[in-house]
Subunit: 171 residues, 2 copies
DNA sequence: CATAATTACATTGTACACAATCTAATTGAC
DNA sequence: GTCAATTAGATTGTGTACAATGTAATTATG
């Protein structure tokens, strides 16, 4: 067989990398890497939240759990995990801290003793109104307009979906 | 004085939040929040890297340190930190692991005994060529074109810069 | 040149994040 | 109904992140 053979090899002759249009020597440059921009922007973002959430005693991941519960109270741990893309190893200790703060309760589901139902306390519900200033402050800190924020949100959602496909499938 | 007074009040009458154009009740919805899209995309991204870097025994933050050193060998801990937006509390243990893997050396600077110079070993340099497949694979996983990747990289870099301004200054 | 201030890094403590594993409860196959 | 397979959470171990603090070396000031 010649070197030009293109039989459907294992993970496909498929698409060439989008990087093919760039010199190979530039592939490993930090500032060319979208992933590093993503990673460092995400870390910086949590630093912006920190002082805002500290007033309530919350961390950013804890605040995310509260957001989910404010949308729909009383959800199981796995439902929270699906919504937030986090697993029980992360959520279990986090939820125990939220419980210790008296913002949520954790109760075994009587109908299915494997499940743990996470529900808001009165204090947890009260927190919703008080935390309206948080997205307000953070959105200002982004120095983005609302259309820009919406566009970025969609792009990052699409990116997450694409990356999830590559982890769950053949890769 | 009339209600129109615009004396420079504490943290300014300043700009209204970009969210002002959105119903208040939507501010706390998870899927409206760019920050959650950012956070979850970043976590998903590191999951894509994991199997690719595991071949070399590296984690994603460790890989970032290698990227910096491949661009410019022999840098101090604080230089690495400035480049990666990480502090010594994160880098010190991470660098010790890279040293244990024999990819870097850590040496006190003779000219300034406070500084620790991080430099590549031969194995660390060899890793550069071997890791060219990593950005190739990840860029495919994003399902983005090169112009899309470049645009996202710039947007996220701008976002990080804006967020950094809000943490360092008056906030 | 003595000492106060600063700088560079390390350490400690808290909180994620997640793979791997474990346990208990439920469901399925027969 | 019994036992295997599955499911839901919890636990364990490793590795970030980062605030706060500690220590040693360097620089600045008088």
């Amino acid at each position: 067989m010649s070197r030009q053979t293109r039989l459907p090899v294992k993970s496909a002759a498929a698409k060439p990398s989008p990087l093919a249009a760039m010199p190979t020597g530039d592939w490993l440059l930090l500032d060319n890497q979208m992933c590093f921009a993503l990673y460092s922007a995400s870390l910086t973002m949590t630093k912006v939240y920190k002082p805002l959430l500290q007033k309530f005693g919350l961390t950013y991941p804890q605040y995310l759990v509260m957001l989910v519960l404010w949308e729909h109270d009383a959800r199981s741990v796995s439902e929270l995990g699906e919504r937030l893309f986090l697993d029980s190893g992360t959520l279990t200790p986090l939820l125990k801290r939220l419980e210790a703060l008296d913002f949520i309760t954790r109760t075994r589901d009587a109908a299915d003793e494997r499940r743990v139902i996470v529900a808001l306390t009165a204090a947890g519900r009260r927190l919703q109104k008080q935390s309206l200033t948080v997205p307000q402050h953070v959105s200002c800190a982004t120095e983005c307009s609302l259309p820009e924020l919406k566009a970025l949100t969609r792009q990052l959602g699409d990116l997450r979906a694409a990356l999830l496909r590559s982890t769950s499938s053949t890769g």
